[in-house]
């Protein structure tokens, strides 16, 4: 679109590429100046006149019936203004729905405040409003709640024990979802006759996505707008509006959800939280705005968690290492409640459908179950099940290689999908990727850096090094067809974008996606700038406002740049068309004789005959009598986009070198190489950041983080003292390499890039640790791997794996 002349003029513009485009340019983030100078505004920065502060009275027992809630002493606490129980607020429940038969799925509801039963320690029972957060906490201490305690269900073993307490009466066996899929004909024979069958049992620890900014909301009635204004840090503003309006019995037009700057979400903010609804309702009742900021203790114990899964997996191989069959049973401990809109199906359905991953699997059977327990509920967390099932798949491949005496990378190469499109046994069609190329490059980088030689030479000094890989893909850009396959009743997928140009020739574009740190203000602006030949600083995006954005599904599942980015590109393209129409009319030339260039419309046959965008906008708004008869005044356009088919698959290979410290059992990561392919990177710097952050969270799952409970269901970690989120000191630098296999259906060839880092890291780290443990004859398949386990493995104190 942009002419060479424009390139010359803009050569010094930061990030502008020499070939005259913004796509692929490492533009500095537009968000950074305000974030780095304290000018950003997060929920907790919002202060409204007469604003009250909320705190929640939370259940102290994991399982029981509420026998009484007495808030009379709460109201005597200095500074406390009001306190409400479930009965006081009388709100509708949150009921996530799946269109699956009762034998597959049991629907359950989450009340906004616990009414008669409590199902986990930390469940909100009442909300206290006070003049300041200190008084609010004094208030919750004065609440008197009594319980008839019942024995809690705290593990999947307990949940599945016949006669176990039912977490929900609707599901007496505590199984909320039970799907068996893809049972290939004759799969039992495949296993019976296969020359090599390997098993992996693995458990993944419960984790917390831990956005730096905890959840929070400021809500209050705006009398002038006759609207409930809810400022909240959510990845899904329109879904919050829907649930909120439904729960409070209001029409959606009387609710406005506004999202300020966000300090991360990672998935736990793409579900609707009960506290958001309770605070909005309490504010309405109190007639004053109310702020609630989740403290770290509640964030660790009473927020949404993820990832606790148990796998029983086996795979059959022929003598050459080719996969013959895969048979998997995955149990997901979803905690006490199903989340909206994703439901308890989020992890088991993801695992069931995506487990074969990058490999050609001719026969497949999977059973996926969601189990209810008396623990804090779960939500999607970056990668959703893929960090775990990729880990299991990669362990199966490694184990088969050992059994067969083959090189594990060679076994991978023999099974990787290399011809695209490829429709797998799981009914998923994979668009082109670089599965083999990324693995080969990853291996070459580590080999060229000499790590294989180092591993051998330091072994002679008694040091223990291991090298491990992970090879995986990541479905991104799920459209509504792909989501409909999950049978969620609320089906996400499309995105809408509206764009308008003002009289000074600058552009505002809306997106239904919601950046919670992914730099959409920069990358979306690059897309529009590229379409219209504008500098990025003349493009402003609007997101996170249900009054300004017609509708959006927010940001999750690495959908923003693929779906939202394409909608933005199409809308900008439509505006470009309008500019060309008007330009041709005003230049009195043919429509096919004009082009967009250098912030204006010029004649193809005579570049001196041109109108700047400002000139055209001037006519469109201020002198509309000059417009063609059929033209509407103003410069605006819109577009929508939905994902195509099964979405688009990003892929990557990770390679890790670890050293196991003999004296302490510490796992030290000496080298981390990531070769990623997310198609066309709109902004490579942003892509690198996504991968690095994701890898940090993946390493956290592999080596550090685990939410645990005592025998009463009391969470063990109330602070970072006990919940071991790794610090920068534990996370290595990551060497990034890129391969670009463009997506065929997104406007600019981009695939999603949000989750891959997290997905690959646990498998790669585990494989590296187990490579190092090979001489010890021990394998570790449960995460997180602790120093004590490594120490015991190195000193022979661990049982040799079966």
């Amino acid at each position: 679109m942009t002419s060479e002349v424009a390139t010359g003029d803009r050569a010094n513009e930061p990030g502008f590429r020499a070939d005259g485009t913004w796509i692929g340019a490492a533009v500095s983030r537009k968000e950074d100046p305000r974030l780095l100078t304290g000018e950003a505004r997060f929920v907790d920065d919002i202060h409204l006149p007469r604003m009250l502060h909320a705190a929640f009275v939370r259940s102290t027992v994991a399982s029981g019936h509420i026998t009484s809630v007495d808030l009379s002493r709460v109201l005597e606490v200095p500074g406390v203004v009001a306190a409400f129980t479930a009965e006081d607020l009388d709100l509708g429940d949150i009921t996530p729905r799946l269109d699956r038969p009762p034998e597959e799925h049991t629907e359950t509801s989450m009340p906004i405040l616990a009414r008669d039963r409590v199902r986990f320690v930390g469940e909100p029972v009442a909300v206290v409003l006070a003049e300041d957060p200190y008084a609010a906490e004094d208030g919750i201490e004065a609440a008197d709640v009594t319980y008839d305690v019942t024995p809690p269900v705290l593990s999947e073993e307990q949940a599945l024990t016949p006669g176990a307490n039912a977490v929900h009466d609707e599901a007496p066996g505590n199984v909320l979802l039970d799907v068996s899929m893809f049972a290939s004909d004759g799969i039992d024979d495949v296993f019976a006759e296969a020359p090599c069958v390997v098993h992996v049992r693995a458990r993944a620890g419960r984790q917390n996505a831990l956005p730096l900014e905890t959840r929070g909301v400021v809500a209050g009635w705006d009398a002038r707008a006759q609207q409930l204004l809810v400022q909240t840090c959510t990845q899904v503003p329109h879904q919050v509006r829907t649930v909120l309006a439904g729960s409070l019995g209001m029409s959606e037009s009387t609710v406005r959800v506004l999202v300020p700057d966000m300090g991360g979400g990672f998935g736990i903010k793409c579900v609707v939280g009960r506290e958001e609804i309770a605070v909005a309702a309490a504010a309405t009742r109190a007639g004053r705005p109310v702020k609630w900021i989740e403290d770290r203790k509640d964030a660790l114990s009473a927020s949404f968690l993820a990832r606790e899964q148990r796998y029983e997996a086996r795979a059959a191989f022929d003598e050459t290492g080719r996969i013959l069959g895969l048979d998997v049973d995955v149990l997901c401990d979803m905690g006490a409640y199903s989340c909206y809109p994703f439901t308890v199906g989020i992890e088991p359905l993801m695992a069931s459908s995506e487990m074969p991953g990058v490999y050609r699997v001719p026969a497949y059977r999977v059973r996926g179950r969601a189990i209810a327990t008396n623990k804090a509920p779960t939500a999607p967390y970056r990668g959703v099940s893929r960090p775990q099932h990729v880990m299991v798949m990669e362990r199966l491949v490694e184990r088969a290689a050992r059994e067969l005496g083959l090189d594990a990378l060679e076994v991978r190469r023999r099974n990787l999908i290399t011809v695209f499109p490829y429709t797998g046994i799981n009914n998923v069609t994979y668009d082109p990727g670089s599965y083999l190329e990324s693995l080969n490059l990853c291996e070459r980088v580590l080999a060229d850096e000499g790590w294989y030689g180092t591993q051998r030479s330091v072994a002679e000094q008694g040091r223990v090094l291991g090298i491990g890989y992970a090879c995986f893909n990541e479905r991104t850009g799920y459209g509504s067809d792909a989501f409909a396959k999950r049978k969620m009743q609320a089906v996400p997928g499309f995105d809408l974008s509206e764009v308008r140009m003002d009289t000074s020739g600058t552009v505002v574009v809306t997106t239904g996606t919601m950046s919670h740190g992914q730099s959409h203000e920069t990358t979306m602006a690059q897309i529009v700038a590229d379409k219209l030949g504008l500098p990025v600083d003349k493009v402003k995006i609007q997101q996170g406002d249900t009054d300004r954005v017609t509708y959006g599904w927010g940001s999750f599942g690495s959908r923003s740049i693929t779906i939202g980015g394409t909608a933005v590109a199409l809308a900008a393209g439509n505006l470009g068309g309008k500019l060309l129409d008007l330009g041709a009319h005003l230049l009195e030339t043919r429509r096919d004789n004009v082009e967009l260039a250098d912030e204006g419309v010029q004649q193809r046959d005579d570049h001196d005959r041109r109108l700047s965008y400002q000139d055209i906008a001037d006519v469109a708004y201020l002198r509309s009598h000059l417009l063609p008869k059929e033209a509407e005044p103003g410069l605006q356009a819109s577009a929508s986009f939905d994902g195509v088919g099964d979405g688009t698959f990003s892929n990557a290979a990770h390679g890790v070198v670890v050293e196991l410290h003999r004296d302490t059992g510490r796992v030290e990561i000496l080298r981390y190489v990531c070769v990623e392919d997310c198609g066309v990177a709109i902004n490579p710097q942003v892509v690198d950041g996504q991968a690095r952050g994701g890898i940090a969270q993946g390493i956290a799952g592999a080596l550090f983080e685990k939410v645990t409970y005592d025998e009463n269901g009391e969470p063990s970690a109330a602070s970072f003292l006990d919940y071991k989120v790794p610090t920068a000191c534990e996370i290595p630098d990551v060497a990034m390499h890129h391969i670009e296999t463009p997506c065929l259906f997104t406007d600019n060839g981009a695939k999603g890039a949000g989750e891959g880092g997290t997905i690959g890291a646990p498998a790669a780290v585990l494989n590296a640790v187990n490579d190092a443990l090979r001489p010890a004859g021990v394998e570790l398949n449960d995460t997180p791997i602790t120093p004590q386990q490594v120490f015991d493995a190195l000193t022979g104190a661990l049982e040799v794996a079966p």
Binding site: E137, D295, T664, D722, T727
Partner: protein
């Protein structure tokens, strides 16, 4: 995570602080750097009715490094010690600071606060016990006394300090040119799973005695006489001697088991960390 109400008092001098705490009784607490007390108050695990802020008592913030003794004022921050010139005999004190929490904690946390809090892995407690430090405390009515570090730490967060006493300074009276502190924790800045400190008497390549202290193996930091007897017997400063010392230390303790580490793992850490500390100490 907000504390319950309390009354704030600002101390003007040491005597006034001690008199005020005596007057207010056991519901009063001194506030120094606040790196342990404030989080405990925010979790409502500590609920003092009165906080006496001693942060303004500049006379308690000093490092006095002489050839024979090192005196550190109780309000001195860990970071100040970490960046101070402590003279040749007390490098171990400066180098131990890097094990304390994270930089923001070290810039606020104080020597006296750490000693008074008496965590079972606290580096200052470990140093004080290892180097036979003396802890000078002030009480009401201008009373002062000195507590030998070896007597100071009684158990879980429990010291010999009376409720109305305030630590004024810690005095290290013996240079320790061949001493080292080392630790193991899962993350940088965590409380140690096990910490080990040794102070060797080294002359012409031989060890003629020494001291061994451990953290994380019981309710409070401890000296390990069994391991020190191995050093006392002396010998060439070599791996064999250090292993014998470390074995004695590992045998002498009965560490607790918790979520992070079992008893036998901790015992193995004791052994390996004592060896590491000895090797670092002798290399000085």
């Amino acid at each position: 995570m907000k504390p319950p109400p309390f009354t704030y008092h600002r101390a003007r001098d040491v005597a006034g602080a001690a008199d005020l705490v005596a007057e207010l009784g056991e519901d009063a607490k001194f506030l120094a750097g606040g790196q342990s007390l404030i989080p405990m108050m925010n979790f409502r695990l500590a609920r003092p009715e009165h906080l006496i802020d001693i942060g303004g008592l500049r006379e308690l913030s000093f490092v006095d490094a002489g050839p024979e003794a090192l005196r550190v004022g109780s309000l001195t921050t860990h970071r100040t010690v970490e960046t101070a010139d402590l003279g040749t005999g007390f490098d171990v004190v400066r180098e131990a600071m890097r094990w304390i929490g994270h930089l923001p904690i070290r810039t606020r946390g104080t020597v006296g606060g750490s000693l008074a809090h008496a965590d079972a892995t606290a580096e200052w407690c470990l140093l004080a016990v290892l180097l036979d430090a003396e802890i000078v405390v002030a009480g009401a009515g201008g009373r002062r006394r000195t507590i030998a570090a070896g007597d100071a730490f009684l158990g879980f967060y429990t010291t010999l300090l009376a409720d109305d006493e305030l630590i004024v300074e810690v005095v290290f009276g013996r240079p320790a040119p061949h001493a080292a502190v080392t630790e193991f924790a899962e993350r940088k800045g965590d409380f140690a799973v096990v910490s080990a400190a040794v102070d060797l008497d080294v002359g012409s390549g031989a060890v003629a005695g020494g001291r061994v202290a451990l953290g994380g193996v019981g309710p409070a930091v401890v000296r390990v006489p069994e391991a020190e007897r191995v050093l006392q017997a002396g010998g060439r400063a070599c791996r064999d001697l250090f292993e014998a010392c470390a074995d004695a230390a590992a045998q002498a303790v009965d560490p607790p088991a918790d979520g992070d580490a079992g008893t036998e793992y901790r015992r193995a850490l004791v052994r390996n960390l004592v060896i590491r500390a000895c090797e670092e100490a002798v290399a000085r």
